[in-house]
């Protein structure tokens, strides 16, 4: 089976090179610190971490995007297209036989014409896998982020929502609170009452000796922020309703676009993102994708890795298999890894193991 998977991977990789990508390699053993900084502690449950006696914690490559972006930011061409293939390693905490080690074949595009690049990646994957009749799913986290940025509320609330875009449950809880749909929890009400009773410094002193690195200034600053937040009015009901509507938007792409155009006058901040969505649909159509039927879900991709910030997509086979291919736009990641520079980037991966399984079943 491994030989069949490798053969499938090589076939897909060759097709990506043929499409104009330059081959790129990445280390298997990566420094853990940058990945931990990007993904947070959760990644420890999903990646194999090992200790190097001299270099500290190292991680078995959980995906290629980060090392490929790092390599590109060190002096890649502009625009650039890369293809890679190799194993990734995912630690599993369940006994259900999910793969710990599997091949990925990937394609990453660094190009300032974002809608065209989005369409290029999606259309290329769709074409390569056309014989498998996969079910596509698409979304656009950029629209959601723009909607949050455009809310008429405090910067702090917007930042809190922005930070939890990829944690839908917490995002929803925060939104419910900021919109006044959920009551202030009793613990918070009691806290606010206490904070309002005296100056922060006096309260800190009364609470006992302060231990640890988090300083009295840190505590006072957040106490002030909490009181300020309590004074801020709730997000207006019509505006909140638009955001709830957006979170649950699921429709074929063209219908979704009309819907978004319909709400844009009331939420003007999303207009540039909706323009990009429209441009992408145009580019997809030009690449032979039927955008009248292409499914769109505004919340798609919100539970995946925490770096997609625009177009997201996946291609699904039978329900009992993970997505056969997936990808998305990650402009902000290039800024984080680029030491001050950034470039719009989009990419995706195909799992040749799953492709080989589906093709094997067909033959």
């Amino acid at each position: 089976m491994k030989a069949a998977i490798r053969a499938e991977a090589e076939r897909l990789h060759a097709a990506l090179l043929h499409a104009g990508a330059a081959p790129v390699e990445a280390d298997i053993l990566l420094p853990a610190d940058i990945l931990l900084d990007l993904y947070g502690e959760d990644i420890r449950a999903r990646a194999y971490i090992t200790a190097d006696p001299l270099n500290g914690e190292m991680m078995l490559r959980p995906d290629f995007t980060v090392p490929v972006v790092q390599a590109h930011m060190k002096g890649g061409a502009d625009p650039a297209r890369y293809a890679y293939m190799g194993e990734v390693f995912r630690r599993q905490e369940h006994l259900d036989g999910r793969a710990r080690e599997y091949m990925q074949v990937g394609y990453e595009v660094f190009d300032r014409d974002a809608p065209q690049a989005d369409a290029e990646v999606f259309a290329l994957f769709s074409t390569l896998l056309a014989d498998l009749n996969l079910r596509p799913a698409t979304g656009d986290i950029g629209i959601l982020m723009a909607a949050v940025r455009g809310l008429s509320t405090t910067d702090r609330r917007k930042a809190a929502l922005q930070r939890h875009i990829w944690r839908p449950r917490r995002f929803r809880a925060l939104l419910d609170r900021f919109a006044g749909r959920a009551p202030v929890p009793p613990a918070r009400a009691a806290l606010l009452q206490r904070l309002a009773s005296d100056a922060p410094q006096a309260l800190i002193t009364a609470a006992g000796p302060l231990v640890g690195l988090r300083s009295a200034e840190d505590i006072a600053a957040r106490a002030e922020a909490l009181l300020e937040d309590a004074r801020a009015p709730a997000i207006a009901a019509p505006e909140a309703a638009l955001l709830y509507d957006l979170l649950s938007l699921e429709a074929p792409s063209c219908a979704a676009l009309s819907h978004l155009r319909g709400i844009a006058p009331m939420l003007p901040a999303i207009t540039p993102a909706v323009d990009r969505f429209e441009a992408r649909l145009g580019a997809l159509a030009a690449n032979g994708i039927d955008v009248d039927t292409l499914p769109f879900e505004a919340s798609h991709g919100r539970t995946t890795l925490e770096y997609y910030d625009g177009f997201v997509f996946s291609l699904h086979g039978p329900d009992d298999l993970p997505p056969i291919a997936s990808g998305g736009r990650y402009d902000a990641l290039t800024a984080v890894l680029g030491a001050g520079r950034s470039i719009p980037a989009v990419g995706g991966i195909i799992r040749p193991g799953l492709v080989a399984r589906l093709r094997g079943g067909q033959r």
Binding site: G40, Q92, R163, R170, L191, V211, G212, L213
Partner: protein
């Protein structure tokens, strides 16, 4: 032909061992240590074909998972922390009503702005922005704590390992918060820490577990006899 023995792993010392012996004793099964004081061997009287294995409480989860013992007594905190997908590996057959301890999240008492996980999350975000690294939580219960924080949507923290004197890590500036076992909260208070209102991660107690992966062939009758003596239903070991 040797009889198929049913092995039961029990903590090898301290109060946990004594309480376990008492618990089985109250149900007509006498556990005794055999050999000299320092030798870790024992026997179960009052039932046929059950062998006592004395082990460190911390090793009992691993021995259960490997199926080297059929039954084992240990803290539910240890099983949940050490065994991924624990319910697929062991059956929690009986909560034994002793060895109570709570795994809790605690922060400095002087953090007047932090009472809940919600506050901790917001404080962690601000801390990272101000101090340039993620807010550190010292614990030895990595899996339990990480799963709990993930489920509750807390971000921008890092776990740091602490195998003992965890309450002291905040004062020593190696962590900003802790997650540790407490029974009365006194050690927390003595170290100027307070528990978060919704920071109860797990309420642990000594529990009798059955190993799904152990070789149960030829032992069904022994297990049924044991279940009858303990007044428990026979555990469902598969599925």
């Amino acid at each position: 032909m040797t009889r198929a023995m049913l092995k039961i792993g029990v903590p090898s010392k301290g109060r946990l061992m004594e309480k376990t012996f008492d618990w089985f004793g109250a149900r007509g099964l006498t556990m005794v240590r055999t050999g000299n004081e320092r030798e870790y061997s024992g026997a179960v009287q009052g039932i046929q074909d059950v062998e006592l294995v004395l082990l460190s409480a911390g090793e009992i989860p691993r021995e259960l998972a490997a199926g080297r013992i059929h039954l084992g007594v240990t803290g539910s905190d240890l099983v949940r922390d050490k065994l991924p997908d624990w319910a697929a590996q062991v059956v929690d057959w009986a909560a034994m009503g002793f060895g109570h301890a709570d795994l809790v999240l605690a922060v400095p008492a002087a953090w007047i702005d932090v009472d809940t996980l919600d506050d901790l999350d917001a404080a962690a975000a601000a801390f990272r922005a101000t101090h340039g690294h993620r807010l550190r939580i010292a614990t030895k219960y990595h899996r339990l704590v990480r799963d709990f924080l993930t489920a509750n949507g807390v971000a921008d923290y890092a776990l740091v390992d602490s195998q003992g004197a965890t309450e002291g890590t905040v004062k020593n500036l190696t962590a900003e918060a802790i997650a540790d076992i407490t029974s009365s909260g006194e050690t927390l208070r003595a170290n100027h820490l307070k528990m978060l209102a919704d920071g109860l991660i797990h309420r642990s107690q000594a529990t009798l577990y059955a190993a799904r992966r152990a070789d149960w062939s030829g032992r069904a009758a022994t297990l049924a006899a044991l279940a009858a003596r303990l007044g428990l239903a026979v555990p469902r070991l598969s599925g």
